[in-house]
Symmetry: C2
Subunit: 595 residues, 2 copies
């Protein structure tokens, strides 16, 4: 059993001690990083949240403490009191490297078994072990740093929004299932057996109601839930920075959120982010980058070369064009020397995006080399090279198909090549862009109906409203995504605030009037009482932290994450519950326990 | 359909306009509070979050706007542009009462049906209507003010804790059911059909793990859940300010939280709260006030008069004492004139607390009047009066029984009399006290075992540890509650941080070693790796807001509350879900839908 503090008070943190503190007596508390004997002395590296401090014990300093300190092992929790002195062998690589604390007395607050994972930076241990012993994994300085960043970021967001007149209002966690969107987590009700609450996928409806209530400017940093099969970088519960404003249009929301993000990056990373951000329409983003979240840190834009090959002898190209598709290309700088095998591999890569093949033109110094050269006139070849903006030494990669396949495969290929060529290695740029003018609706071939691309409350662009019933696919939305380095950081829209338009929207989505009212009746009802024009945005807070902390694993930024099956190795959740609990809820299990 | 903003920007809020703004043109936006015609002019009271502004329309100001404005009705949402001028008939009762805006142009942003509740302060409407139309209820200025206070309070707490080195860390919402405490809300798992997550009743275990992780100082403003039958002022989901610190003892936690609360009251109400707060042991609080959350804004303390009546002729008194109980009294100042019926009513009142009766002594000017006078000698009577500190004109009320009944009934009676006599009317004091030295364990007669009075991780007081197995009921805890005006504002404890002591505690609670490990194994495991001494506290955030906002209804401080059956009138949650959803979860409903 460990010793009690009995009034002993820590008066400084390990990582804070500097030469200016020399000559003063301090009490520090923390964990033993390592212990070593050297020349009759005992050195302990003591670690707390702020860093590591060397503590030295010796017969001449205090013999009792020296003997006691000899018993400690790594990860023992101890308190040490003594004078701060100059360090004999200074270590310029650590902030406290000029000083050490004389171990005049020591308390062993608790002992430790040998930990199953090392407490060090850049740990390379199996993920399930790290998650099972998460409390030890979180002792690692790089993990602690991430959660300091997470705290600072939330603080910076709240400070900024508070300064700008926003109120944080909490919305319910136990709410109504709204089956449009992802799968809900359900919570059985005891008072109404057979009925269920749902955990919110977002506070969308509530934040709109708060606008109807006249709260004017709302935000919340809030947990949201989606019971989906987890892809990489998805967690069943995640955190959203949810924002909504009244009496605004798209530009107001955009301007505010640029300032917010710029404030956050400045506060947390001391990084200047220039505003306003670039803006790009959805159409341009798709045309140039084959993606609605383009990574603009490098070029390699997609070029439409359809007009260059309109009448060429290569049937694959002309068929694609004649069937309403296109022929497009990207140019890999200095790629002409790429080997045949590597090019073949890129061909396999685009097939995963449903492209039937990848044509290529290598603009070598001595010659133009291409398997399709024989189908092209010299003029056609020159036009392609010109349109592709290829120079000597470059490689042109071409896909011909229907537009969606061409753009998606070339967009993905562009990223794949950037990765392979390490184009972004050492690049510490934060390249922001707003994508605007998204399609309001997306047609689902299988279900034979339109779905809301964003959500059913997104307002159509004024100039497109007239097409809502005649040509729904043509209607653009007052929707906008903030994209950073090829990832969506946040997205939002101006909302419909008119019952008639909202009802028309539901009808386009194939809801009967009855079913729309059943699901969203309280919002439609609210819109009868003077709703203000309003709009907003939600940021993926976890993803924002990933950027700020420089990690690409979402589990690193969540204190107690779950695995791909939404299982928690630490607590063994989910788990079985008492039959009595289920009886109270009026539910029973009708499958064999699969675990 | 309403008009669009089309670039029109609001440049000031209604409630902000003052005489200093006169002569400038402004655009304001908000809701029509009322409209009236007077002398050929049209006056509209326009309301936004900040207050009300008078807008005047007239033929001479702008005829087009005048005609349009005549169409608006209460709760229409409008935008008005015009010059700010002096108001003809000033209204000194409103902050904007010296000015009015000339209605030079108006946009009707949306129309409103007649709202089912009035948008005014101190609304007296049925609660279910208020909850169904919550978005209208929340338009009322007094409700908006509460949520501004709630926002400000959260901000003040976060600012203070950030300044004091605390990190806000989010803990999981989908976690493990721990069946000690209240009933959990369960969430069925789709990946592991037949298994369940639980929504957290508090982040207790996780915050202790964060201390093991070396985060040192943690806090979180977080939603917690309890599926209990709702008494007044309980909600199924509520918000907690959760705090935990390492390397501290009880006094450190107490001191920090006094500073926190004092900072909050200063920031939100500009009210000075003196620190340190009073402290009182649990035993003293029970002895003097019959409650572990005594209201110290008034006296009327309970006096033990057992020794005065030890040998008296009143068998009820002597029997109580001889059976190990006691005879105690409270003195009602100027209560001697209370009528017989009123005293009888108080007698009925204490019976609800299991007291068998209420004896009384009225110290009238002319005589001592009491039904028990005949059983008492003059000396005994005089001693009782002296012990009760009664003066001429006072009324002494006496209960004799076993101690728990005597204290509970007199404690409740004390509050009841204060309420009846309106002792606290107009009292705006915030009277804080820490209650300390709580019993660690409480014996449950029915189950025949001890339960943790606080929770099973609370540390016993050092001087009582030796009684843990021999006399568990005697062991006091390192636990403390912050009590304000007779309500528990927060509570916490120093935790056990030693596996051996924690296991002993579980054994006293009647857990087998196996079942303790099954439930809390991950915490016991964590304690093997150098846990620091730690402790903390949690505040009921909703209750804190009730104090700051001066309301005694918890529904007033929660934006979208549920009713006593945990039902939401606004969204109709809980509700039925698709059979498909239940199949995916592997559960079925085995009761008839009762709704």
């Amino acid at each position: 059993m460990g010793e009690a503090l009995e009034g002993l008070k820590r008066n400084i943190m390990c990582g804070e001690l500097r030469e200016s503190h020399i000559g003063t007596k301090f009490t520090v508390m923390g964990w033993v990083q390592r212990k070593r004997n050297l020349g009759g002395l005992l050195f302990i590296d003591l670690r707390d949240r702020t860093g590591i401090l060397q503590v030295v014990f010796g017969e001449a300093i205090n013999n009792e403490a020296f003997i006691k300190a000899d018993n400690v092992k790594p990860e023992f929790c101890i308190a040490v009191t003594g004078e701060l002195v100059h360090r004999e062998s200074v270590n310029p690589n650590m902030p406290t490297g000029m000083v050490e604390l004389k171990g005049e007395s020591i308390k062993i607050l608790s002992e430790s078994e040998t930990p199953p994972i090392y407490i060090k930076e850049d740990l390379d241990a199996a993920e399930n072990i790290r998650l099972k012993y998460r409390y030890l994994d979180l002792r690692r300085p790089d993990m602690q740093n991430i959660f300091m960043i997470r705290h600072k970021t939330a603080k910076a967001i709240r400070d900024f929004l508070d300064d700008n007149g926003f109120l944080e209002v909490e919305t319910p966690m136990l709410t109504k299932s709204t089956p449009e969107g992802a799968r809900d987590y359900l919570v059985p009700s005891r008072n109404y057996p057979g009925m269920f609450y749902a955990l919110p996928q977002s506070p969308q409806l509530f934040k709109q109601l708060l606008m109807v209530s006249g709260f004017d400017r709302y935000f919340q940093i809030v947990k949201c839930f989606r019971d989906e099969d987890l892809r990489a970088n998805r967690q069943p519960e995640f955190t959203q920075v949810d924002i909504e404003l009244s009496f605004v249009e798209q530009d107001d929301v955009i301007e505010l959120n640029e300032k917010l993000v710029s404030h956050v990056f400045k506060s947390v990373l001391n990084k200047e982010i220039k505003t306003p951000f670039k803006r790009m329409t959805y159409k341009d983003a798709m045309d140039k980058y084959g993606s609605d979240k383009p990574d603009l840190r490098f070029g390699m834009e997609i070029k439409n070369i359809s007009s260059d090959v309109l009448n060429c002898g290569f049937k694959v190209f002309t068929d694609a064009i004649n069937n309403g598709g296109s022929v497009r290309a990207i140019t890999v700088k200095s790629g002409a020397s790429m080997g045949r095998k590597d090019i073949d591999r890129l061909g396999e890569f685009v097939k995963t995006y449903k492209a039937k093949g990848l044509a290529w033109i290598a603009c070598k110094e001595e010659e133009i080399k291409s398997p399709i050269a024989k189908f092209l006139t010299e003029a056609e070849m020159n036009n392609i090279i010109k349109s592709s903006e290829a120079e000597v030494g470059d490689l042109i990669l071409i896909v011909a198909d229907k537009n969606s396949v061409v753009l998606q495969s070339l967009g993905a290929l562009r990223l794949e090549i950037a990765k392979k060529q390490e184009i972004l290695k050492g690049n510490d740029e934060f390249n922001f862009v707003w994508i605007t003018e998204f399609p309001l609706l997306e047609y689902d071939e299988e279900e034979g109906r339109y779905f809301a691309a964003h959500h059913p409350f997104t307002a159509p662009m004024d100039e497109d409203i007239s097409y809502l019933e005649s040509e729904p696919g043509r209607v653009r939305a007052k929707a906008y995504d903030m994209v950073l380095n090829g990832e969506e950081l946040g997205g939002g829209s101006i909302r419909i605030h008119d019952t008639a338009l909202q009802e028309k929207m539901f009808s386009v989505l194939g809801f009967s009037n009855e079913s729309a009212w059943e699901r969203f009746g309280f919002l439609l009802e609210a819109f009868k009482f003077g709703p203000p024009p309003h709009g907003g945005l939600a940021f993926g807070f976890d993803r924002m932290i990933m950027f700020l902390a420089g990690t690409d694993n979402i589990k690193d930024v969540i204190a107690f994450p779950k695995n791909q099956n939404a299982f928690c190795y630490l607590t063994d959740a989910p788990n079985i519950v008492d039959e009595k609990q289920l009886n109270e809820l009026g539910i029973s299990i009708n499958v064999k326990n699969k675990k």
